[in-house]
Subunit: 409 residues, 2 copies
């Protein structure tokens, strides 16, 4: 079985066509590399609903030339707000309007995951990326001077590098570690509803259309924001499952959802009805790991650093990965560049791993802070009261340009 | 068996001759009342070692004319400091020097409990208080126009009022509630060492002689300060007993002490050696209760509001009680005052109970904050970093004059 290869100077194989894989493909194509994306599913599609795009990611989309389409498909919120899920009281807010945009050089955008994926697919196709749905990559072999990816359908592809963007349950991560996803014991329910004249009162009771609001409380939280140019309301309810803690197989059930949120303030309780109840998302991450690149193979996005969603940075960190990766691999384009690949991937790892690991750890901490009870909740609320909506004290490390972060490190 | 009574206009019986009881006796004597103190023990004595006297209490001692003797026997610290027991890092501090003294109209003093008790005994005797050690009061009966206290030795005393200052395990509290002390599962080890040329280096490694330092960490803390005009070092180590949590009978053992503190920084570990190991103090409080006075009987100090020691306010609140009580009862002195007693005691309760209950609750919270772990400790340290040593944000409610507190309430 002969492996196919590109006619020209060797191409980069991207395993996984989600947001991270496609952004990497687009960025590498723009950097002059030949790119082939192998996606297991029969089509390019995203599960879930809303996605928050912080400036560390939207800045990349801007450089890739797709930010305008993204902002048109999404919403530019004015504020991120934390409220008590129990009392409804506002605990802290972050202004993400003009001043924030100027500081970080890009906007905070929220949009539908499907919309972002469609934009990326279009842009990849236009940039000459080869897109192959239905390609379930079973193994990648590093032959020293090239890689070979073998798929479940018997096909194989050669390339100068393989980028594993195959998500939380990454098969290719096994080349780097024998770890497993870590279950948080939390589960998410999601839902979207169209915003109409009839329900806009009920929708905006929970959050203004130009706000991303998280209602936080002991062992639970609820997030709402508008999507799709303000025509759709996105909702996520998350809670710590007592059934999981008790070792039950069937945990995080809709009954448990209702019971957990029954203690919340009326605005949050009323919003529960709009959640999808036939599907739920148990929440996993992995222990941070600093080794992502070896030879001609590297991990990207959730395959490298799956994280809990509390900082809304899963996709954002994957997009940062993509941009840095493309920058490092740019020198490998062209006839004589292939031998530079291992070094470029090592540099990509060095540039990205410390920050991504920090985000993984901080996401866990931030979740603990959201869900804390007792004296911890008293401390949190008191600390949050010190925070000014215009302060960048807690966001510079995350949203600031890479160069600034590196200077401070 | 005829009950003895004072020859003149009827006296107030104080059941319990600890710090609260004696301060009440002294204050009432100064207010013109006849006072008799009935103390179960064979002599007036205090267990334990160091005692912190915050301005809400030292202000009272000043008005009673004994502050100078108290400060001569004690130490006036310059700062209260919170440090991490794990890393040794300073987390927050409160300046309690001149500016603090001016704000609250009295100093922060630390002294030996025995020294304060001796000063109170002397002052009571000089003020004409009848002091009766060896009087174990079994019952107090309220006859409407008088009270009668009956002792284990068969004696009985009549008076116009009975003040129960018989501590955490108050027998007379049973007249008001059928509650029981609440065990915190924490235990304290104490110790004092004389400060000499030989050991002063080791002593001041933990805390300067003009500082009260609490080293706080997950499930434990350690406090050090100097006493006795700076010649004695007072130490207290407190921890949450895992043996208690596991339901064991013998809990909070010296072995557990050593194990718990083995995770602390070297300065704290080194200080463990100076603790007494043959005696330990399991820590109790009770649920806050607002009803302390009925007819001619009222509770005072730990009998009314036993509290965990994290705010160092047990004795201070008792001293505040004493002063308010004497002020309310002053009108009952003299031939025709006896009928005013029930109303005066009710006013005492109204004036003191809300604040004392708040202190009880806040002491629990403050202990939880000291001993918190994980995300809570991160929040605490971050919040503490906002605190300025000259800020009165968290002390006005506690140390401020009663009138100011009442104005704010």
């Amino acid at each position: 079985m002969a492996a196919r290869r590109s006619a020209g100077t060797g191409e980069v194989l991207v395993v996984g066509g989600g947001i991270g894989g496609l952004t990497a493909a687009l960025a590498m194509a723009r950097a002059g590399l030949g790119v082939r994306v192998l996606e297991r599913a029969g089509q390019f599609a995203e599960l879930g609903a809303g996605l928050q795009m912080a400036p560390n990611a939207s800045r990349v989309l801007d450089r890739l030339g797709i930010l305008q389409r993204v902002t048109e498909a999404g919403v530019l919120p004015r504020r991120l707000v934390l409220r008590s899920a129990l009392t409804g009281r506002e605990l802290a807010a972050l202004d993400v309007g003009g001043r924030f945009r100027r500081r970080y050089g890009a906007p905070y955008v929220v949009l539908h995951r499907s919309d972002l994926l469609a934009i990326l697919v279009d842009a990849c196709a236009a940039a000459g990326v080869s897109l192959h749905p239905g390609k379930d990559v079973l193994t990648v072999t590093d032959h020293g001077d090239r890689v070979c990816a073998r798929c479940a359908d018997g096909t194989a592809y050669r390339g100068i590098a393989a980028i594993a963007a195959d998500g939380l349950h990454s098969r290719l991560r096994e080349m780097f570690a024998d770890d497993a996803p870590v279950c948080s014991g939390f589960v998410a329910y999601r839902g979207t509803i169209d915003i109409s004249q009839e329900n806009i009162g009920e929708v905006t009771r929970c959050a203004a259309l130009d706000e991303v609001v998280a209602w936080i409380g002991p062992g639970l939280h609820f997030v709402q924001y508008a999507l799709c140019s303000g025509t759709v309301c996105n909702r996520v309810a998350v809670f710590r499952s007592r059934q999981y803690a008790a070792g039950e197989q069937d945990w995080g059930t809709p009954g448990e959802l209702d019971e957990m949120f029954s203690a919340c303030c009326p605005q949050v309780r009323a919003a529960m009805t709009a959640l999808w109840r036939d599907r739920r998302w148990p929440m996993y991450d992995r222990e941070p790991m600093g080794r992502w690149a070896r030879g001609r193979v590297a991990l990207l996005g959730d395959a490298a650093h799956p994280m809990l969603q509390y900082l809304a940075q899963g996709a954002c960190q994957a997009i940062e990965d993509a941009y840095v990766l493309a920058g490092k691999l740019a020198c490998c384009a062209g006839r004589d560049g292939s031998h530079l690949v291992p070094r470029a991937l090592a540099e990509y790892e060095q540039a990205r791993a410390p920050q991504a690991m920090r985000v993984q750890r901080t996401a866990r901490l931030w979740g603990d802070i959201w869900h804390i009870d007792g004296a911890g909740a008293v401390l949190r609320d008191e600390l949050f009261a010190y925070h000014r909506p215009g302060s960048y004290r807690y966001t510079d490390w995350l949203y600031g340009p890479v160069t600034e972060r590196e200077e401070r490190a």
